[in-house]
């Protein structure tokens, strides 16, 4: 149990305690907000496990707590359920997550999730919902994972309306400033989720409209940068340039000295260099970022890609490998590893071995939710190739080998990646063509 953090009560004739909260509580030791664990059974452990990415352990813990009936209060059950649901989704066990969600009432606003419905458990508690907001979000997101994108979108938009119509308009007297700020953050969170959905389906105009609305409310440099990325994504380079310039003005003007914002501006500049194919300047910008913050994995990844386009394949691989060694907890990102695998495929003939080594290391170090499916699929692609060729050769003995190539490549790889097989064309075949 964590130690209580507020000072013990002073005797009556000493100077009054400044925190208003202490006035309201008689005995801080019995306040339910003294520590995480006092709020909910072993909550700090759950939080810690989540930070370490130990989702399977969380599942075990929740199952054990439930079976041993260690949870006494309704809100504890809800919190544990939320963690359970999140773990299942992180581990990509979507149908199990669906089953977990179905144990709940479909209407998260129902009475059973309100504090006031349990006067015995919460005698002096302020009224309100005990549903963690993340549960609402997960409830909205789950259908997408099961293939029903439309339902997810509908739920997200409903959630947005719920926030905007019910929570934000509440007047300042009934809720605290902290709460209002929190609801505003939640609103931004949901809007950004919605934009992400539309973006993954390349519905760019909707994204632009939503981003425009968000930016007009609050000109945040991160958001305007993301607008720039969206514009780059569909090809509006002039628009992206304008967005990035606006971000630069915002950051330079604020003089906050925040390293993250400085790096943001540098990375945006680097992207502009990249599209103009000035890879050398882009590398320079990324190196500046890495000097300021060595854990800027976006800069690391992008620098490696620039090196590759400069045909410096060995250095690009070195950059990624050293990042994985130095700062594994930030560098271990699925995209970075995908890029590394692509580079291995180009660099080494026997890349399957290298990739096996990589995936073994990942299995040891990575959190439970790391998605290794793409590495494995890429490996199998090339293992199949020689045997496919043999099969096709037997079927079409007279055809020249490039059609065999073609057939095999179509057979085994998705059409998007074309690679040569090694050494199959012999002198007899070149006589045929």
């Amino acid at each position: 149990m964590d130690m209580p953090e507020s000072p013990p009560p002073q005797p009556a004739n000493s100077s009054p305690i400044t925190t208003a909260a202490a006035d309201a509580t008689d005995d801080p030791l019995s306040s339910p907000y003294v520590s995480l664990n006092s709020h909910c059974h072993e909550l700090s452990t759950l939080q810690d496990l989540a930070c370490r990415g130990a989702w399977r352990t969380i599942l075990d813990k929740v199952a054990r707590s439930r079976s041993l009936s260690l949870l006494s209060k309704p809100h504890e059950h809800l919190i544990y359920l939320t963690f359970n649901l999140l773990s299942l989704i992180k581990l990509r066990r979507y149908s199990d997550a669906q089953q977990e969600l179905q144990t709940l009432d479909d209407d998260l606003d129902s009475k059973q999730y309100l504090f006031e419905s349990y006067p015995d458990h919460y005698p002096n508690h302020k009224a309100g919902s005990m549903v963690p907001f993340a549960l609402r979000w997960l409830h909205a997101h789950l259908p997408l994972t099961l293939g029903d994108r439309q339902l997810s979108l509908d739920r997200l938009y409903s959630l947005l309306h719920f926030i905007r119509d019910k929570k934000l308009p509440q007047n300042r007297d009934s809720i605290s400033e902290v709460s209002l700020t929190l609801w505003k953050k939640r609103e931004t969170f949901v809007v950004n989720t919605i934009i992400s959905y539309h973006l993954s389906q390349k519905e760019f105009k909707v994204c632009l409209a939503l981003l425009k609305a968000e930016i007009s409310k609050n000109e945040d440099p991160l958001l305007v940068s993301q607008l720039g990325y969206v514009q780059m994504q569909y090809g509006d380079l002039d628009g992206a340039k304008r967005s990035f310039e606006a971000v630069e003005k915002m950051v330079v003007g604020s003089e906050s000295g925040d390293v993250r914002l400085k790096n943001l501006v540098s990375r945006n500049k680097a992207l502009m260099y990249l599209v103009e194919k000035d890879y050398i300047s882009a590398v320079r910008e990324y190196e500046e970022c890495m000097e300021r913050d060595e854990s800027d994995f976006v800069a690391i990844n992008n620098k490696a890609i620039c090196l590759m386009y400069l045909r410096d394949l060995s250095d690009s691989i070195k950059v990624l490998e050293s990042a994985l060694e130095r700062v594994p907890t930030v560098a271990l990102n699925e995209t970075l590893v995908v890029n590394l695998c692509s580079m291995y495929e180009l660099a080494y003939v026997n890349h399957a071995d290298v990739k096996k080594t990589l995936s073994t290391w990942i299995a040891r170090v990575a959190p439970d939710d790391f998605d290794t499916s793409f590495i494995i699929s890429k490996m199998h692609r090339y293992d199949h190739l020689p045997s496919c060729l043999e099969m096709v050769r037997q079927k079409f003995p007279r055809k020249s080998l490039q059609t065999v190539h073609l057939a095999c490549v179509f057979l085994t790889t998705s059409l998007s990646t074309w690679k040569a097989s090694n050494g199959e064309a012999s002198e007899t075949d070149c006589a045929n063509t």
């Binding site: 953090e5 208003a20 909260a21 306040s31 907000y33 939080q47 930070c51 370490r52 990415g53 809100h75 919190i79 999140l86 302020k126 009224a127 309100g128 005990m130 907001f133 979000w137 809720i175 605290s176 953050k185 969170f189 973006l199 993954s200 390349k202 105009k205 632009l208 425009k212 945040d220 993301q226 990325y229 569909y234 090809g235 509006d236 628009g239 606006a246 992207l271 976006v298 992008n302 890609i305 700062v327 907890t329 580079m343 180009l346 660099a347 003939v349 939710d369 020689p386 045997s387 496919c388 043999e390 490039q402 190539h405 059409l415 998007s416 074309w418 097989s421 090694n422 064309a425 012999s426």
Partner: protein
């Protein structure tokens, strides 16, 4: 699958292999649902912070936990995969680049497979299509000195694909390995090029304005951002693009500038239309309508896909509707404002000679339409009028005496001009629509001051006419009988 694993053994013929990767631009990775959360949303009920006690205590508890900016590399914590640093992180667009997985440039290199070092390697790459062979790379002047064992030689070739259909990239290497003889390795990579967009045009003429409608259809698998679509007019033509008016009421300059609505054509069949207004303007007025002005111009289209990957297309010459040279023109100078049924009226016409030679003499008549019943207007008098010669670039007046035989809105049409020397007939030069009126009127007879009863007998005659300024008039002669005698009466009525 039979013969699995037999592939490796067959490589003994060559110590070298080509690997090809298409190198188009990388793309920005979008992560739907990064699944990052603010701890307040997970650990506590959503309304808990309404309680002022909670609001003051709880943030302190969390501040130690969620400070991801101070990352200790030795800290085995993946908190950045779980904790939300900024609410916009849920957009999942951190600006991370991903390598492309599909065709673009060729990044080729040769890999040495076995343990032999290779010397004096000559590499060549060329693209073959049905029509031509284009050499992309030739190192014969400066051959690669050597490639060490398990080493690599990389090169990038770039090629703007301009033809459609099957293409073959042929990579060949001529090298010496441990053996004395020179070995030759060719490798072939096939790909098919198809049309990314198709352009359909329609030309319409409205009076002397030509309108060009261009419809662009996207056949690719990605959305196309139309960077520039420009119509390059041919000589003597000028073009302006017609766009819908921009009614955006953006006050914020930042948003207005960054939010210019992009023209994006959806993948797999999306279309977008452009409208151009073209005007023909010749510097030399005499050469007003030249026959060869059929070519209107070309469309230049530039588009971009992800990260600004450019594409270009120029259409063939777009042809307009042929404009025939006009030799004569007929204009109506004067037509009576009111035309009354079965009353002849005069129409003044002007015949203009647009050519530089003398034309005529002419004959003018009203052409016969299908049947007598159809005709509404006929020539009153001689059916054919003769006109003399008309000088170059000058005109001649003529008058036609017409009569309408049908009332209502009728077309005065079919005026045919025949050049007796050149034997050319010009019809459809002039068409007018006019209202042919029938005049109905009621005449009331009023008994005057006499005591006699008057009996109306009949209208003996009437006369109608038209005055230019006072309009139509009618004169009536009637006889009226009273008990004793018939009295002629005369009245005049003006119809307004």
């Amino acid at each position: 699958m039979s013969g699995g694993g037999g592939g490796v053994a067959q490589q003994s013929a060559h110590s070298l292999a080509f690997r090809v990767m298409r190198l188009c631009r990388p793309s920005l990775h979008v992560n739907t649902s990064p699944l990052k959360f603010d701890p307040c949303d997970l650990l506590f009920g959503e309304d808990l912070f309404d309680d002022p006690i909670a609001a003051s205590h709880l943030p302190r508890l969390l501040s130690s936990q969620s400070n991801p900016s101070s990352v200790d590399p030795s800290d085995p914590s993946y908190r950045s995969r779980f904790l939300l640093q900024h609410p916009t992180d849920s957009l999942g667009l951190p600006g991370l680049l991903v390598l492309p997985q599909s065709f673009g440039y060729m990044h080729i290199h040769t890999c040495s497979i076995f343990n032999n070092a290779l010397d004096n390697v000559l590499v060549e790459a060329e693209i073959q299509t049905e029509r031509q062979r284009i050499l992309l790379l030739d190192t014969s002047k400066s051959p690669v000195e050597s490639i060490r064992a398990s080493g690599r030689y990389d090169f990038i070739v770039e090629h703007d694909v301009k033809e459609l259909g099957a293409h073959t990239l042929v990579c060949t290497a001529l090298y010496t390995d441990g053996d004395i003889e020179r070995k030759y390795l060719p490798q072939f990579f096939k790909f098919v090029v198809s049309n990314p967009i198709s352009v359909r045009t329609k030309v319409r003429n409205v009076k002397d304005i030509t309108l060009l409608e261009a419809c662009i259809e996207n056949h690719t698998k990605s959305n196309l951002y139309m960077d520039q679509v420009e119509f390059e007019p041919a000589q003597h033509w000028s073009a302006t693009v017609l766009k819908a008016a921009d009614h955006s009421s953006e006050h914020n300059l930042l948003t207005r500038e960054t939010f210019k609505e992009p023209i994006l054509i959806r993948s797999g069949g999306g279309i977008y239309n452009y409208l151009y207004q073209l005007k023909f303007s010749s510097p030399d007025n005499a050469q007003l309508k030249v026959e060869g002005s059929k070519i209107l111009g070309k469309l230049q289209i530039t588009w971009r896909t992800n990260l600004g990957e450019p594409g270009r297309l120029q259409t063939q010459h777009i042809l307009g509707n042929p404009i025939t040279r006009k030799e004569i023109e007929l204009h109506a100078v004067e037509i009576p404002p009111v035309i009354i049924l079965e009353k002849s009226f005069l129409v003044s016409l002007n015949l203009i000679n647009l050519t530089e030679r003398v034309l005529g003499p002419f004959e003018v008549w009203l052409s016969e339409s299908d049947s007598l019943d159809e005709r509404a207007v006929m020539i009153n008098g001689l059916q054919t009028t003769t006109l003399g010669e008309v000088q170059a670039f000058s005109s001649l007046k003529l008058q036609l005496n017409l009569i309408a035989i049908k009332h209502g809105i009728q077309k005065i049409t079919g005026i045919t001009v025949f050049d007796t020397i050149e034997k050319k007939t010009y019809d459809s030069l002039l068409e007018m629509e006019r209202l042919i009126s029938i005049l109905y009127f009621e005449v009331g007879l009023f008994c005057g001051a006499t005591n006699a009863n008057l009996i109306f007998c009949k209208i003996t005659s009437y006369q109608m006419g038209l005055r230019m300024f006072s309009g139509p008039w009618i004169h009536l002669w009637t006889t009226v009988k009273d008990a004793t005698r018939r009295v002629p009466l005369y009245g005049r009525v003006s119809i307004l």
